[in-house]
């Protein structure tokens, strides 16, 4: 099955019930199996600018590179998948674009953004993230977060000084320890996971998971996975019904079939026939 038929992707974003403008950015490239979501921060419209730069750099650069490269191939320098290298390099590229824009234009000083992006290839997905935008997976009955926030609260949970239950009442919710565009350097976190037919992936900004408990998000996806656009609408309505204090964005990806890359030995035979 080709990637575009195997993957069903939808996205939706909303400014919420309190904010006047939307600092989140989302983008999809169905042909390449790429989804990108960013939650910007900074005064005036700087947050939108930062998340907008991040999403467009990652999307257009990867699209361009995939015209000539294969995400499942191995990178000759690092030995990693090309897909992994593309995600990491382009988040770093977005970082320097935002950082330089912020340095050269005073109205953008201090702007930054979180990012989460997933690239699907060869029955797996590579995930990159910086900050507290998340990727969740629904597989069978299990709904869980795959990314771990780069946030003060997550560090406190990891070091055992606060329990997960107590974390819900913490007042340090919105402090991220890593962001794109704040410093000259950024450390993107990248992992590769196997994808199975029937999986549903959710990329979201903290406007969703701060407002709605994970169990309710999981239940909603379980009930509505047959109709992804409705599921996306419903998640945004849930965030707004629970307060809607922040911008809320979701991307949903359902795996409807296998998307194996052409096997190397097969392509070698094709190449041999062609010559």
């Amino acid at each position: 099955m080709n990637k575009q038929n195997a993957l069903e992707m939808v996205s939706q974003t909303h400014s919420g019930k309190v904010r006047s403008h939307n600092e989140d950015s989302v983008a999809l490239d169905a042909a390449n199996g790429l989804a990108v979501l960013a939650d910007g921060m900074g005064g005036y419209n700087a947050g939108e600018v930062a998340s907008g730069i991040a999403v467009s750099v990652v999307l257009t650069e990867i699209k361009y590179r995939l015209q000539t490269e294969k995400p499942e191939a191995k990178d000759p320098f690092s030995g990693e998948d090309v897909g992994v290298v593309l995600l990491r390099d382009n988040v770093e590229k977005a970082n320097s674009s935002i950082f330089h824009a912020a340095q050269s234009q005073p109205q953008y000083a201090g702007m930054g953004t979180t990012i989460v992006a997933a690239l699907f290839y060869d029955n797996q997905l590579a995930v990159v993230h910086v900050g507290d935008s998340r990727l969740y997976r629904l597989r069978g009955e299990v709904f869980e977060a795959i990314t771990r926030d780069h946030s003060l609260l997550q560090e406190q949970i990891d070091s055992g000084i606060i329990s997960k239950e107590d974390a819900r009442t913490s007042r340090n919710k919105n402090l991220v320890t890593r962001a794109v565009g704040i410093d000259a350097e950024v450390q993107p976190e990248v992992h590769v996971y196997e994808a199975q037919v029937g999986d549903v992936y959710l990329l979201c900004s903290d406007g969703l998971n701060d407002m709605v408990a994970d169990e309710i998000i999981g239940e909603t996806l379980q009930m509505l996975k047959a109709n992804l656009p409705l599921a996306a609408t419903q998640l945004i309505e849930l965030a707004n019904d629970h307060g809607g204090r922040d911008n809320v964005s979701v991307i949903l990806i359902k795996i409807n079939g296998k998307f194996s890359a052409p096997r190397p030995w097969l392509s070698k035979i094709f190449a041999w026939f062609k010559s």
Binding site: L152, S159, D166, T169, L175, E219, A226
Partner: protein, 243 residues
């Protein structure tokens, strides 16, 4: 506004302390930040770790222990108006940042410009291992606050659907959850969403759309009124509010 502790004994206020340091110690010996000169108090009795707006109390293996709001604790995430008891002394915790700020800025994601110091080393290792799983007696777990407010309040009317035909005729299903699906997966499914301003039905899957009072609802959500008749996958149901 940093958090404060108010020290009192027998209802009489003795002193107040501002939690301005990352680590504030309580004990009998003079080098402590909060000195309580009483033999029931250990030389280093307890410490309070403050990280931005959150404060954590921990017992430093004291002889007589600590209680918060009447329950013995080893480690506790302090909440507004908690009362810490050390012997006959009481320390009341006040944090003006505790009330969820009404301004939208409170929810804004912010970046910590300097790297956060590792927090683990401040916990004495002997006790970290014992408490790694975070034992809290249930009474100490703070009631769930702001982030997840139930959609439905007691003011919202309760509603149900009752099946009118087929083998399950007469069965009633109360709509308690925020979402309830109806129908047969793969054939025809609709979802009933309970929202603050009412109940809405939306088509999920299937070639045919559900009917309300004999009329197709199409792809848009439809707000349900009392005694609406729903038809879905050959089953008729009545929607009604419960008094």
């Amino acid at each position: 506004m940093p958090a404060k502790l108010i020290l009192s004994m027998d209802g009489e206020v003795l002193k107040d302390y501002v939690l301005s340091k990352e680590r504030t110690t309580i004990g009998r010996k003079p080098h402590n930040d909060i000195v309580i000169d009483n033999l029931a108090v250990s030389s280093e009795h307890a410490a309070i770790i403050t990280i931005l707006n959150d404060s954590f109390l921990e017992d430093l293996d004291s002889t007589n222990g600590l209680a918060v709001n009447g329950t013995t604790v080893k480690k506790h995430f302090l909440q507004q108006n908690d009362v810490i008891e050390i012997g006959k002394y009481k320390l009341k915790y006040l944090n003006e940042n505790a009330a969820p700020a009404p301004s939208a800025d409170f929810e804004k994601t912010m970046i910590l410009s300097r790297p956060v110091k590792p927090v683990a080393p401040v916990v004495p290792p002997s006790y970290e291992s014992a408490e790694a799983t975070g034992r809290f007696s249930p009474s100490n777990i703070a009631p769930e606050q702001a982030p997840v407010q139930p959609v439905a309040t007691s003011l919202q009317p309760r509603a149900a659907v009752q099946i009118l035909n087929g083998p399950n005729a007469g069965r009633e299903l109360e709509l308690i959850k925020s979402l309830t699906t109806l129908g047969k997966p793969g054939v025809q499914v609709a979802v009933l969403a309970r929202r603050p301003h009412g109940f809405f039905m939306t088509h999920v899957e299937g070639a045919k759309f559900p009917l309300v009072n004999g009329e197709s609802i199409g792809e848009q959500p439809r707000q349900l009124k009392d005694h609406d008749i729903i038809e879905l996958a050959g089953v008729k149901m009545e929607f009604y509010f419960k008094s």
